[in-house]
Structure formats: C-alpha cells, structure tokens
C-alpha cells in the first residue's frame, strides 16, 4: 500500500503539467492506475503469503 502511495507522489511530481489540463482525463487515469496498482500489489502479496504457507506445510509433513 505504501508503494502505491509513493507511486502517486511520483506521478504528481512528474505530471504537474498534464494532471491540470483542461479536461483532466489524466487525473482520472492516475486515480484508476493507483487503484489498479494497489490491487495488483495486494494480490501479489497474497500470492506470496499463500506460497510461503504451502511451502512450510510441505516441509513439516516431509520432515
């Protein structure tokens, strides 16, 4: 979650110009991409946790 926060800061810094354009579609795009990247990081994290759990379980049953 912290990652997507930094990501949004970087985008704000880099995009001073485009975020304030008249129709502001890039602002919407930024919002959408922050949500999307946050969700993907969440899923990725979940995937890693489950993998770790499975591995630990496998090790304990074989030992």
């Amino acid at each position: 979650m912290l990652n997507s926060f930094w990501f949004s800061l970087v985008l704000l810094q880099a995009g001073q110009g485009i975020l304030f354009q008249s129709d502001k579609i890039f602002t919407v795009l930024t919002v959408v991409l922050i949500i999307f990247s946050g969700l993907i990081l969440y899923l990725w994290n979940l995937d890693r946790r489950i993998s770790r759990m499975e591995k630990k379980d496998k090790d304990s049953t074989t030992a």
């Binding site: 579609i25 919407v28 999307f36 899923l43 995937d47 489950i50 759990m53 379980d57």
Partner: protein, 235 residues
C-alpha cells in the same frame, strides 16, 4: 528466472493487458458515438469484459463439476465452488457498472429518486439477475447439506442445470427481445460493423486481461481453501 515466468507469466500478461486497456481505453481517440452515448462508449472496454470473465468462470465451474461427477476427486469440487463464487463477483461488477452506464445514457432525464432511473427492465439486465439468483441458490443448496460427499455430488448436478440456464437466460432471450443491449436487431455485436476496429484493439486485450486476472484470483482461492481443508472441514 525461467521458473518465475513459467509460474507467473500469465499473471504478468494479464496485468500488462489490463494496464494497456486502462490507459488506451481512456486516452485513445475514438469515433464519436454522439447523442446519449458520447464518451461513455469507452465503457465497452470495462463493462463487457466483466461478463466475458463471468462466462469463463461459470464455464470452468461446470467443467469441474462434471469432472467431479466422473472422477470423484474432492479438489474438483473445490475448484467448481470457488470458480462459481469468483464468477458471481464479476457478474455483480458487470451488473453495477451496467446500471450506472444506462443511468446516464438512456435514463438521463428521469430524476434520481425514481426507480426507473436505475432499472430499465432491459431483458439482459433482468435475466442476469435471475441467473445470478440461480447461482446464489447453488451456495444456499451447499450450505444446506451437512454431509460433505453428498453435498459435493448434489451441488455438482445442480451446477450443470445452473450453467445450462445461463445461456438461454442471458444470451438467447435478450437477443430475441431487444432492449438496450446490442445484438437484438443485427446479430452478434462482435461480428457486425457496429464495433469498429478502433474499439476492437482495446476491447479484446481487455477481455483477455480480465480473464487472466480472474484465473489468478481463482488460483489463490483454490490454493488457500485446499490448504485450509487440511486442518478443518471447510464449506
């Protein structure tokens, strides 16, 4: 490194495709649909893939139900259940996004406090609710059967009927009755010229991307449930 892509390649591909669909879908210049459609035609890139993904997951669900009836392996029942569950989530995404889209395009003049502003009784919209209720009954049926092997068998048979009803309810009837959705008057929207190539280059990647994402979610749910089942009887 190679093993990483072997295991995670489809996830990365899905994320890249959705990322592309989000960026290109919002920024690409498209033929102006005009009138009440205007810029909301971009919703084709996000609303429609939800349904494609739901059909895929319900398809996986019924295939695993049939496999369970043939082979009797418990893990097939887990995949069938989790797939139907994830499919329902995508169905609810599709339904809610469709309500918002129709609210601002065809029902824009109706005040917000009126039910008609939010619900058009469009055949596809209505039948999809019926189909989702049939799937809700699948979970109620499961919850009602205590003994796990008969629960798996009976619900697998029910799932075949649920999947069989999905096709006439959401794909055939709405096309015969017309309504807000395309396909009533001029056949399959994917085959006719109303979906121009400018839409297709974003639409198809978006469909594939959301399908891959849903498979990822399904994989996680199945792995988690199988792990959990080692320690307790999970329904």
């Amino acid at each position: 490194m190679l093993a990483f892509f072997k295991n995670n390649g489809y996830k990365i591909l899905g994320v890249v495709l959705i990322g592309y669909a989000l960026i290109a879908g919002l920024l690409k210049s498209l033929p102006d649909m005009g009138g009440n459609m205007a810029q909301t035609s971009r919703n084709v890139f996000y609303h429609v893939p939800m349904w494609f993904t739901m059909y895929l997951l319900m398809g996986i669900s019924v295939v695993y139900s049939i496999l369970f009836l043939l082979k009797g392996k418990d893990r097939f029942d887990v995949v069938a259940r989790e797939s139907a569950r994830t499919g329902m989530v995508f169905g609810l995404f599709g339904l809610s996004t469709g309500i918002i889209w129709s609210r601002v395009t065809w029902r824009e003049l109706i005040p917000s406090d009126s039910f008609a502003a939010w619900w058009s009784w469009d055949p596809k919209q209505t039948m999809v609710v019926v189909a989702l209720m049939i799937y809700a009954a699948y979970f109620i049926l499961r919850a009602g059967i205590e003994e796990s092997s008969s629960r798996a068998r009976i619900s697998a048979v029910y799932n075949i009927f649920a999947a069989a009803s999905l096709i006439p309810l959401t794909l055939i009837l709405p096309r015969m009755l017309g309504g807000l959705h395309p396909g009533g008057d001029d056949g399959n929207p994917l085959e006719n010229i109303r979906l121009s190539n400018e839409f297709r280059v974003v639409f198809y990647p978006s469909v594939l991307g959301f399908m891959l994402l849903s498979i990822w979610i399904l994989e996680l749910r199945v792995r988690f449930t199988l792990y959990q089942q080692k320690f307790e009887d999970v329904e």
